[in-house]
């Protein structure tokens, strides 16, 4: 069913009792053309673009838990493309461009809000780095302008720009096209449209082995039995090494916990996103009114989906100095997701030495913003059997 104001009114008339299911819960078929391991945003986007861009619909997405229950539902929902290197800038900006039309494309409101993202500079080096990054972005056609502390104060009055704090705000840079989106809706929107193309989304189905014969992938072993496939693509974030090992691959990634938290909801105080890489404080306000706060990664390997209190304390120290009004707010929830960190903090979307087996990993702390672009490029890599030039 197309979601529209008319269908909304029609369903309201029937007391919302007749909405169809957004996607089926099918049993796995014995064989597919393509299996995608991982039913997060990236995997669901890959499935959708396989169908939409490449006409491949005999596809299954296998998810060990529930859709978007991993990092897709655990991030701080920030979307931006202000990257220094050409390779990153082009890929992330493709993603941002897809975000801009995503609600219409999916017929699902992903609540993308181009409210702007400001990166703060707290020392001379930060200022110079932001200036350099701004120039590089503009050469790639990406908007990124330097802003003074006074301009930042006008945009976000809750910020403390006193020069006497430990990490004073010396300036910043703003990408106005950036913003945030409802992370769950991105996964659900892709799932619904992929399902409409006939793609099977199979939850509670954990992959336990990759079947390989003569250097070519033939299928996967799962907790719901063996499934054959001509091609298999894995996009599993923190579990990349685990799946990679099943296919005999060694990957240059390490899994770490990345934590985030929300305060109790308050009236609107912030209509942009502020990021401080130097002190690892990331803040925006959700539509419910909660301040959404992100921290840096925990400093040790983990698959535990939770982190240490020291990281939260460190994040909050910076937060209360930069935004003093939060001092007496309560933290409602904290949580962690497992991210796959590469030495160069740049993702890998690639063929592998195993014929027909593809990996998409290494998104580290910045995966959510890349969801549409990652899926779009990975679908191309799988369908054409070669990387897209954006990879």
């Amino acid at each position: 069913m197309k979601y529209s104001i008319f269908n909304l009114l029609r369903q309201a008339r029937d007391y919302h009792k007749n909405w169809p299911q957004a996607w089926r819960s099918p049993d796995p078929k014995p064989e597919y053309d393509v299996i995608i391991i991982g039913g997060g945003g990236h995997g669901l986007a890959t499935a959708y673009y396989l169908a939409k861009e490449h006409g491949i619909t005999n596809v299954a997405v296998l998810e060990k838990g529930w859709l978007g229950g991993g990092n897709t539902g655990r991030n701080t929902t920030i979307v931006r493309s202000n990257y220094l290197w050409d390779q990153s800038a082009n890929l992330y900006d493709k993603s941002l461009q897809l975000f801009e039309g995503l609600s219409q494309d999916l017929n699902y409101n992903v609540m993308f809000s181009a409210r702007g993202v400001i990166n703060l500079a707290h020392n001379e080096h930060d200022l110079k780095e932001l200036a350099r990054r701004g120039h590089a972005c503009r050469l790639n056609g990406i908007d990124y302008e330097l802003v003074s502390p006074q301009q930042i104060k006008e945009i976000a009055p809750i910020i403390n720009i006193s020069p006497s704090i430990r990490y004073p705000v010396l300036g910043g840079a703003m990408q106005r096209r950036a913003g945030n989106a409802r992370h769950d809706a991105v996964a659900w929107g892709y799932a619904r449209r992929a399902d409409e193309y006939g793609i099977d989304i199979i939850q509670n189905c954990e992959v336990t082995g990759i079947d390989i014969a003569d250097g070519k992938v033939t299928g996967v072993q799962t907790t719901r039995g063996a499934i054959k496939a001509k091609k298999v693509g894995a996009v599993v974030a923190g579990h990349a090494s685990v799946i990679g090992q099943m296919a005999g691959l060694k990957l240059p990634v390490e899994s770490h916990a990345l934590q985030a938290m929300v305060t109790e909801p308050i009236k609107p105080v912030l209509d942009t996103v502020l990021m401080s890489n130097t002190v690892h404080v990331y803040i925006s306000q959700s539509d419910k009114g909660e301040l959404v706060l992100g921290a840096g990664i925990d400093g040790y390997n983990s698959y535990g989906q939770r982190g240490g209190i020291d990281v939260i304390e460190h994040q909050l120290e910076g937060l209360v100095e930069l935004y003093p009004i939060v001092k007496r707010l309560r933290i409602m929830r904290t949580w962690g997701g497992i991210v796959d960190i590469c030495p160069d903090a740049s993702p890998i979307i690639s063929k592998t030495p195993v014929d027909g087996f593809f990996m998409n990993c290494g998104w580290g702390t910045g995966g959510f913003k890349a969801t549409p672009g990652s899926g779009w490029a990975f679908a191309h890599t799988i369908a054409q059997d070669r990387p897209h030039k954006l990879n």
């Binding site: 579990h239 090494s241 990957l251 390490e254 899994s255 040790y300 390997n301 983990s302 535990g304 020291d310």
Partner: protein, 79 residues
């Protein structure tokens, strides 16, 4: 802060680029027992080794940085 322990540094004069790249960038990332070198930054500032489970975060052994990895029930430094 912690990272993989027991990494042998190859001779930079004889190591191939591949060996040197592996030494610099490739790390074990087990879902299970991991042998790590830790630095107690907020306390005694001591360097030490720890065997730790990466899902439960259970600490299984603590030992000096010159000692070999201990043998543990249910896993050793292989994965």
């Amino acid at each position: 802060m912690a990272a993989q322990a027991h990494i042998a540094r190859p001779d930079p004069h004889t190591a191939s680029d591949k060996e040197w790249g592996e030494y610099l960038f490739m790390r074990k990332n087990p879902k299970g027992v991991h042998f790590e070198r830790w630095f107690h930054a907020n306390g005694c500032r001591k360097w030490f080794h720890m065997a730790r489970h990466t899902v439960s975060h259970e600490i299984l052994a603590i030992y000096g940085i010159t000692e070999p990895a201990p043998k543990l029930d249910g896993g050793e430094g292989t994965s």
